[in-house]
Amino acid sequence: MSENGTESHRFGSLVLVPKATERSSVKDFKSDQEVRWCPGCGDYAILAAFQAFLPELEVPRENVVVVSGIGCSSRLPYYVDTYGMHSIHGRAPAIATGLASSRPDLSVWVITGDGDALSIGGNHLIHSLRRNVNIKILLFNNRIYGLTKGQYSPTSEQGKVTKSTPFGSLDHPFNPASLALGADATFVARTIDSDRKHLTSVLRAAADHQGAAFIEIYQNCPIFNDDAFAPLKDATAGDRLIRLEHGQPVRSGATGLKFGSHGQLEPTDNPDEAILHDAHRADPSYAFALSRLDAADFRHTPVGVFRQVEQPSYDRLMAEQIATARAKSGPGELAALLAGADTWEVG
């Protein structure tokens, strides 16, 4: 905070990141590389929203790092004029974990897709979430493999007919929000590529979270899975979307939601029974119940922040252990370490 106390709010994930001395604009975050996604790809909208949001962080451009895996979405770092690494398939959360836990002065963003994060990289995703590493994970979910030209993905609906499944896919899909909540993620949200305002608000909430933030972004692939999320984008979408806002009633259209007898959420017409959204509940069961409202026909689809709870982040705990050890016995002395306890002299 500045001396006069009028400084704007500092995002929670940036406590240890230096503050920018000069203002930046969206232009500063655009690299000179030509963007090469297919015309009409939802990735364009997400990139634009992300670039436009970054100046809000008010951190120097050089302290922002974007790490990605492999897939269409993972090309994003090339287009953002910060530090970036386009790594290998599925491994971005692991690489970002090493970077974020050794460099708490950086704002680290992971860009991934449904195949990258949930199939080949599923293990790294869940472990980075449970560790609560201070990274922000943006999962572009288009429910298809785009870069390899149209195979079904771990979020494709069962029975999906693709090149690799001409008779329909047999796999039951993941629900990414449920998976993240099952891993005890401290921040879980969902948004849609086409709703710039909502997308930006979710990015803002994620940036304000100290620890791992998981954002699922419904993203349209016009080539291999066009209109996968169309019911959430047409004129009737308002009746389907449950816009989660902390402290506000959880409502699908005009219908409120209440807890059923088995802890599941179900519709209620009685306004007194309708629950208010509490993103800060320590127990993830409620947020999990919200995530289970999803249905194949999108009849009630929650978007917004499912869960946001405060827990010490991994990088801070790691730094604290080092600080504690040094406070207790001083910095390490190499000669003493090498000698150890039992030495002898040869004359």
Binding site: S31, D32, Q33, P60, R61, E62, N63, V64, V65, V67, I70, P77, Y78, D81, T82, Y83, G84, M85, H86, S87, I88, R91, A94, I95, A96, T97, G98, L99, A100, S101, S102, R103, D105, L106, N123, H124, H127, M318, Q321, I322, T324, A325, R326, S329, G330, P331, G332, L334, A335, L337, L338, A339, G340, D342, T343, W344, E345, V346, G347
Partner: protein, 621 residues
Amino acid sequence: MTKQVQKLDHVIIRFAGDSGDGMQLAGDRFTQETAIFGNDLSTLPNFPAEIRAPAGTLPGVSSFQLHFADHDILTPGDDPDVLIAMNPAALKANIRDLPRGGDLIVNTDEFTKRNLTKVGYETNPLDSGELDQYHVYAMPITSMTVKALEEFDITRKDAERAKNMFALGMLSWLYDRPADSTLSFLKSKFAKNPEIMAANVAAFQAGWNFGETTEAFSVRYEVKPAKLKPGTYRNISGNTALAYGLVAASQLAKLPLFLGSYPITPASDILHELAKHKRFGVRTFQAEDEIAAVGAALGAAFGGSLAVTTTSGPGMALKAETVGLGVSVELPLIVCDIQRAGPSTGMPTKTEQADLLQVMFGRNGESPVPVVAAGSPADCFNTAIEAARIAVKYRTPVILLSDGYLANGSEPWRIPDVSSLPDISVPFATADDEAPEDKEAGEFQPFRRDPLTLARPWAIPGTKGLEHRIGGIEKADVAGTISYDPDNHDRMVRLRQAKIDGIATDIPPLKVDDPDEDARVLVLGWGSTFGSIGAAARLVRNGGQRVATAHLRHLNPFPSNLGEVLRSYDKVLLPEINLGQLALLLRGKYLVDVISYNRVRGLPFRAAELADVIKDVIKSV
């Protein structure tokens, strides 16, 4: 009773028992006492992968061999002079290694009918006469221990468990070892359980007193301290030396150390050791898998840490793709492969040198990486510093090869003067270093190479003006942006290779040990065969024959004089604990018809065995 003292110049002693008998601990303590006494020494722990194989069975036998001497020695010795067998299984598994006339100390309490049957003895070998060719000391070690601990308020089981300390006490007396370090070790190990501590101390002392008073031992042995190079010494295992080497490298490079690791035998002890040293700013990250371990390390390298991952062969296979990414993005990364017997799970606790070709070529595309190998447990320290030096200077992954034998074996180490260690620090790139034309262009050129080393700038996040993107996709030379241009790819493939090849000018030439300077046969080695080859050459030279030896630390690139050295001998013998992996490389590169000698038994070579092979080659010249 005053006993006669017999002077010996060296002793090889093997402790063998069930894996629950505490033989590794007894061996470790005897080693420590021996080190403090000032003998030169070398050890070979040999244990099953199972934590507790069924008690009393052959697969459950664990042993620890120690060779100590009044002169410098190179190996843990071939055959033991003394075998301590704590049960019939240990006897059966080890007796064939004991030469005729050797000393055999047996714990008779365990020679019950049931235990004998378990390992296929139809009659008790202690009674059958089959051990007549040895000096047998049959002693009821378990019951003597239990009796000595009668007054302690501990369970019978706990009392029995102290039998390794009784045996240790007895042997410590027999070889006149200083007991202080073991007593203080026991005091700290059992600090939280004073009764167990007192019992173990009492068992040790009871064993010592028994040795002194029993008529079974008519002599006490004396092995004088070795005349080693003056200095301060300690005993050290390969994994500890490697961990210390990494901490030292971090200080010498002026970079914080980051270790990403996943537990795997026989590499885990490096993780354990480094996890203790938070005071040095060491960050240890136990990852969810081998891939995350190396991934996190690469992420930390991008951020400017001295980044390391440690593993063994199976983990190396999993890390291959990320090491390839490291080659492509050209970041420093130290990858330690503590080799074990393969393929697949193989024999996790047994040693082998069969990952050489995996680390050289086990990645997609043209993916050259420097490879260095440690030659002895203490040498793991220097090798770690050398790996770090190459990694940070050339911005490349470097593979460090050790193995199960070096990892767990130990030897005296002359502790280096910290001020004598090399400065291996390199500066990070800053906007000020940019070439004028690049500055003008307005974009940082992350693949503008140093003309001498061909290393690209190490520009870490947080550095103003050097924002850039790197990745596994082929990059345009200099600019580092995505490029699918055919000629650019050809150039980048060659540049990456040339950078690694160029390291040959930055490493010492291969030194040949040829005391008579007219040997016609050269024995070349790499890695942990250093000791066996050296000891074998001594045997050959002591027999009046001439042989030269040379040992490779750098396996990629090779020292620049290697071809010349190979061609200057009539015959080159190359013993490897694999089926001829280095031989394949040498034949391919130098067209020299090296003679391979290969055994893959999960154990180091025996010196006498190698000496015979060398003599055969000399004969053929």
